[in-house]
């Protein structure tokens, strides 16, 4: 007595996965709204509501939108589909081990027989499990072989199950219309078309062909289909080995309300996490730390999650530091930890979890035979400073493109990878050439510039300076009062950001100004007034 097969099919999985990802990022997602996944401007997959509006696979974006104006368009992402299907695999594995994923959206598992009180009861149990995991549309088919079980699942309703009795697979498959082959992709589509034109309506009629003729005329794909239709093949993909559980967590009972206590308690968990990875010759270079806290709201719990990167690889000590920074981030003045501050957290912490985000082979990060190089020592030393003053307090300076002195630079937190930097290569018309200022003020200082007769200097819309700058005054700490201008250059007019609806910096013009005392400044005129942006010192 051979094992029977249960197939779980989640229709339009790409759409489901894309919507789940959207929901995770916080975008509003309405179940039952038409949605489609597009690749290269054509619909790849669409969901039921979209199909009801006339959207079809292979349609162009424009046509699909014409049929259904409020169609939600989603980008294709095969990795995303596979990633989200992992949750389904785990949910099914909970109930029944030996899951073999066929492709994202489709999996097979040995049918449990009488264990859960019958095959249909088992399918109902799985449906409950999957709906609990957030997958509403899942369909089940049970048959002697994979092909029949898959067809049965496709014949089922949402969360429903179709059972093909033992020995009745050939009968069931034979009754199916030829058009079901179109689900197999382009090959199936061609075969279905051809058989249809030959006057065949049911798969049974295809099974009646001689095997030799099918092989000659339809090739290996035709033979495969015929074997399946005859029920003479029982294909079952090999069951997967569940991936090892690398995440480590620790729960606190009662909840801890001080960051110091939490960091002290997670130390052994962090060591275990690093050790588990080390057993597999791995090190983590990016780790997601999740801290669950008791929400003061009546509905219970909240979670704070953040992915931390490391310039080298994480040691247990680094992880403990990250936990501390993450818990402190909620409190004001997170960048700098005051000595007096007791390290209170916003809410009592009940659980901390380390999830490896990126792991690499330990060999790539090992110390050299004669100890670490200078680089390693610097990484360790700077990590110590970070542990002292906070994650954000240690920076790496980088250049970026821009026009103002402040726009042309960025300070990236030590350990982060710089992202969203403007490229430096294209010319930035309006930027100041020559030596750059050595002191760039984070917040420009308000200033006043007047000409010889004491009238305020401005710049007209055409970039004309209304008077020669003669004296200047700005709120420098320890240097107030007017100072005379010996030489000046400019203006470098810029009209930036008008394409943004609001918060546009608007029209501005920069000047290099040299004082009689030998100081040199970068001044910026804006419609709101003069500012000192930077100093050449």
């Amino acid at each position: 007595m051979s094992a029977r097969i249960l197939v779980v099919w989640c229709p339009d999985w790409s759409v489901t996965a894309a919507l789940m990802e959207r929901a995770e990022t916080g975008a509003p997602v309405e179940r039952g709204a038409p949605a489609a996944v597009l690749s290269a401007n054509r619909v790849v997959v669409c969901n039921g509501p979209a199909r009801a509006e006339g959207v079809r696979r292979g349609q162009r974006r424009r046509d699909a939108q014409a049929r259904c104006p409020d169609l939600l368009l989603l980008a294709a992402g095969p990795e995303r589909d596979a990633r989200w299907f992992e949750d389904v695999l785990i949910a099914v594995e909970e109930v029944r081990p030996g899951v073999s994923p066929i492709r994202p959206g489709l999996l097979a598992v040995p049918a449990p027989g009488r264990y859960h009180g019958g095959e249909e009861a088992a399918a109902a149990l799985l449906a409950e499990e999957l709906v609990g995991a957030g997958v509403w549309d899942c369909r089940f088919g049970i048959a002697d072989d994979l092909f029949a079980a898959e067809r049965a699942a496709r014949a089922a309703d949402a969360q429903g199950c179709v059972v093909v009795p033992r020995g009745a697979s050939a009968q069931f498959v034979g009754d199916l219309p030829i058009t079901v082959l179109a689900d197999d992709g382009p090959d199936g589509q061609r075969l279905a078309d051809l058989l249809h034109r030959l006057g065949l309506n049911r798969l049974r009629e295809f099974a009646a062909f001689g095997a030799g003729e099918v092989s000659n005329r339809f090739g290996s794909y035709g033979v495969e289909i015929q074997r399946r239709v005859r029920g003479s093949t029982t294909r079952l993909a090999g069951p997967r080995t569940p991936p090892p559980e690398l995440a480590c967590e620790i729960g606190f009972e009662p909840a801890l309300d001080s960051a110091e206590a939490v960091t002290f308690s997670v130390r052994t968990t962090a060591e275990r996490f690093v050790a588990v990875l080390a057993d597999r010759q791995l090190v983590a270079t990016a780790v997601r730390i999740e801290a669950e806290f008791e929400d003061l709201a009546p509905d219970g719990r909240g979670i704070s999650a953040r992915t931390w990167l490391h310039p080298g690889c994480f040691t247990s000590r680094d992880l403990v530091d990250r936990v501390h920074w993450q818990l402190q981030a909620g409190t004001p003045g997170s960048g700098l930890r005051s000595r007096k501050e007791a390290g209170a957290v916003t809410a009592p912490i009940t659980r901390v979890r380390f999830v490896p985000d990126t792991v690499e082979a330990a060999g790539d990060h090992a110390d050299g035979l004669w100890g670490g190089g200078a680089e390693e020592q610097v990484l360790r030393g700077v990590a110590r400073v970070q542990a002292m003053v906070g994650y954000d307090a240690v920076r790496v300076p980088v250049l970026q493109g821009g026009r103002g002195a402040g726009d042309r630079q960025a300070w990236v937190a030590w350990g982060e990878r710089p992202t969203d930097l403007r490229p430096t290569d294209p010319p930035w018309p309006g930027r100041i050439p020559g030596p750059a200022p050595t002191r760039v003020f984070a917040t420009p200082l308000r200033a006043e510039v007047v000409d010889e007769r004491g009238r305020g200097v401005t710049v007209t819309e055409r970039g004309v300076v209304t008077g020669a700058p003669y004296r200047c005054r700005a709120g420098f700490p320890g240097r107030s009062g007017w100072w005379a201008i010996a030489a000046w250059a400019g203006p470098w007019p810029v009209d930036e950001g008008w394409w943004h609806a609001e918060g546009a910096p608007g029209r501005s013009a920069r000047f290099q100004v040299v004082g009689t005392d030998g100081s040199a400044w970068l001044l910026c005129w804006r419609e709101s007034g003069w500012e000192v942006e930077a100093e050449y010192e």
């Binding site: 000595r339 300076p397 050439p433 050595t438």
Partner: protein
Amino acid sequence: MSVRPLEIDDRRAVLDQLRGRIDALQGGPSRLSVPVPSVLEGLARLRTGGVYAVDSASLAMVLASGASAAGDWVGFVGWDDFGVEAAAQLGIALGRTVLVPTPGEHWLEVVAALVDVLRIVVLRPAGRIDPRSASVVQARLRSRDAVLLVHGERGTQGAWPQADATFSATEVAWDGVGRGSGRLHGQRARVVVREVGRPNSREIVLPYAAR
């Protein structure tokens, strides 16, 4: 240990030899000289374990650029207005630069931790430094191969109680700017070095890379 007679060719060389000999006898690390860029060669000398006061941001960057270009790491502490582009133009390798813009009350610990691993640390203190903290840092510096540059505002005596040498930029002149014409092309300055003994000075053009 036999004492060979010293070859007396120059007073300074003699002093250097004697210092090296004392260091060797004390068992401490010998004071290595840290490279300085070519414009300051023969004028300014940096030795590991030393504290030097600087009164100009660009001069501080130039002093740090020698070690940075030679492959060492440098750090800037307390520079909440660090001009990244100027640093790059003056020859500092940004990939080997650590910036702690606002160390706040932790400046002493930050400097002490950074001198362990960096070659040059440029500190801009928030106020005057008390002699006790200064001696803590100096003791630390002596046991490491690092240099501390202390940047203070021009005209002030310098926040550090007793620096090994003071570098100041005087007679700063800016080239290329007219009255409403031209643009800044370069910076010239007379760099005055006050060490033990006679002050030494030379006029230099700050080596902003042509862009």
